[in-house]
């Protein structure tokens, strides 16, 4: 075995790498919340009786789901400044930087996945529920907000959280745009100090522990909130 490994590297670079982990968590939380909101709207659009709306939503979702996330990340990195420029009408595309464009990327990308989950959730609600809501005189939006969506959320919460754990892992791909997320921070110090083995082992162990704990939590939650029918 090799004996010149130096695990002291990890404690020396910990503050910097922890900042990266914090960024990863921030992206995950923002994208999970934003993606759920946008994804739910997309799901409602997909299930809408307005054909063009349903078609546009399913086109968006299918496109997002058929191309690699890495490609999506690079697309948004180049597109977001151009889109903002066309909205604000300024002469030059604004300097956004990969750190900030990643927030938009992951909201837009995860929305496609959350949309499919919410669509399944909405479709799992018996027809009688929406029938009853309409019979009570509720319109489309109140019926959705007060009757359908709360039940769909509850049924799909474990799946939404599992998807969020996947998202937490997927954020690591932004390191390829030189962003200082958890993996990006580890890569930077690993290459500077020539401690690739120690840093990547550390990153792998942290992800393994965190994701295992989160999955275990989701499993517990699932058992707890399961509705006995």
């Amino acid at each position: 075995m090799i004996t010149d490994l130096d695990f002291g590297e990890i404690s020396r670079t910990l503050p910097y790498v922890a900042m990266g982990l914090q960024y990863t968590v921030q992206i995950t939380v923002v994208a999970a919340i934003g993606g759920t909101i946008f994804g739910t709207l997309l799901a409602m659009a997909r299930l809408s009786s307005m054909k063009p709306l349903a078609l546009a939503a399913s086109g968006y979702v299918n496109l997002m789901r058929s191309i690699p996330l890495l490609l999506v990340i690079f697309w948004f990195y180049f597109l977001v400044p151009v889109i903002i420029q066309s909205i604000t009408g300024s002469d030059r595309p604004p300097q956004i930087g990969a750190e900030r464009s990643a927030y938009i990327t992951f909201i837009m990308f995860e929305a496609a996945y959350f949309c499919e989950i919410m669509r399944a959730g909405i479709q799992s609600i018996p027809k009688g529920q929406s029938g009853a809501a309409f019979a009570l005189g509720l319109g489309y939006w109140p019926a959705m907000q007060l009757v359908i969506l709360p039940q769909a959320f509850r049924n799909m919460l474990p799946v939404l959280l599992t998807q969020t754990i996947i998202l937490f892992q997927d954020v690591s791909l932004v390191s390829l745009l030189n962003v200082t997320d958890f993996v990006g921070a580890a890569t930077k110090v690993a290459q500077r100090d020539g401690r690739v083995v120690e840093m990547y082992l550390f990153v792998a162990v942290v992800y393994l522990v965190l994701c295992s704990l989160l999955s275990y939590g989701v499993k517990r939650l699932q058992a707890k909130i399961a509705i006995i029918r």
Binding site: L63, I67, V183, V196, Y200, A204, Y207, S215
Partner: protein
């Protein structure tokens, strides 16, 4: 968008850009094909192990699934590419002796294969567990051994049932090959990025790649749908026989 760029020559290469993308696509498909074979074999073994009655087998198999599902794919690539040769000297000696492309290819196949195997294992397990207990017992009652019961009774049923989720795993695998870009494999995404960087025509390059990936996804979806119809089990919802 000016698609003419696809027919311009690569500055330091010997062909137009579309050919460069095509060669990238070739590597993407080669890696995906070999990784799929590896994933299918390992995933089946692990999935079966999770349904046996032996406690140690179940523990090993579920440890495998947890390990490979709870570490991001790019980190797994780095583990195989940097860490494994770093801590196992014979691997290091081998890496130094082979062509870099060979090493990138083998790393990609092994990494994607074992990563996808964990997902396939979960599907195989779910497929076997969806069968009624009577199927296994019927196998034993006929005098089949445990191995024979899996081979002739449980697995032929389970595989046919899990074709839809396997389809999405296959599509995920093809998309995931893009991550091999992180270790420098010249697959489709690598070539796309290279084209964008050398010509500053990012929109054309990414647009072309998007179309190619979407077509692959659509095509593999169709192929699997045909397969699904061919092998559907009569008497199940969704079978057309």
């Amino acid at each position: 968008m000016q698609l003419g760029i696809l027919f311009e020559q690569v500055p330091d290469g010997d062909g137009p850009w579309w050919q460069s993308l095509a060669s990238g696509l070739e590597w993407t498909l080669i890696v995906a094909a070999f990784a799929w074979i590896l994933a299918f074999v390992v995933g089946s073994v692990i999935g079966v192990a999770r349904t046996t009655e032996r406690a140690w087998m179940m523990r090993v198999a579920s440890a495998y699934v947890n390990l490979f599902r709870n570490i991001p794919l790019i980190v797994q690539f780095f583990l195989w590419f940097f860490v494994v040769p770093g801590v196992i000297p014979p691997v290091k000696r081998w890496v130094v002796s082979v062509d870099p492309l060979t090493y990138q290819l083998i790393t990609s196949v092994v990494c994607l294969g074992l990563f996808t195997a964990a997902r396939i294992a979960e599907q195989v397990r779910a497929g076997i567990q969806s069968l009624s207990r009577g199927q296994r017992n019927a196998g034993y009652a006929l005098g089949l051994s445990q191995v024979q019961t899996y081979r002739y009774v449980l697995l032929p049923m389970a595989y046919r049932i899990i074709i839809p989720p396997l389809t999405s795993e296959l599509m995920n695998l093809i998309k995931n090959t893009a991550v091999a870009y992180s270790i420098g494999l010249t697959e489709l995404f690598f070539r796309t990025r290279e084209m964008g960087e050398m010509t500053f025509r990012y929109f054309e390059a990414f647009g072309a790649a998007t179309v190619i990936y979407a077509v692959i996804a659509f095509a593999s979806n169709r192929v699997m749908a045909i397969l699904e119809r061919r092998v559907s089990v009569p008497g199940y919802i969704g079978s057309h026989k």
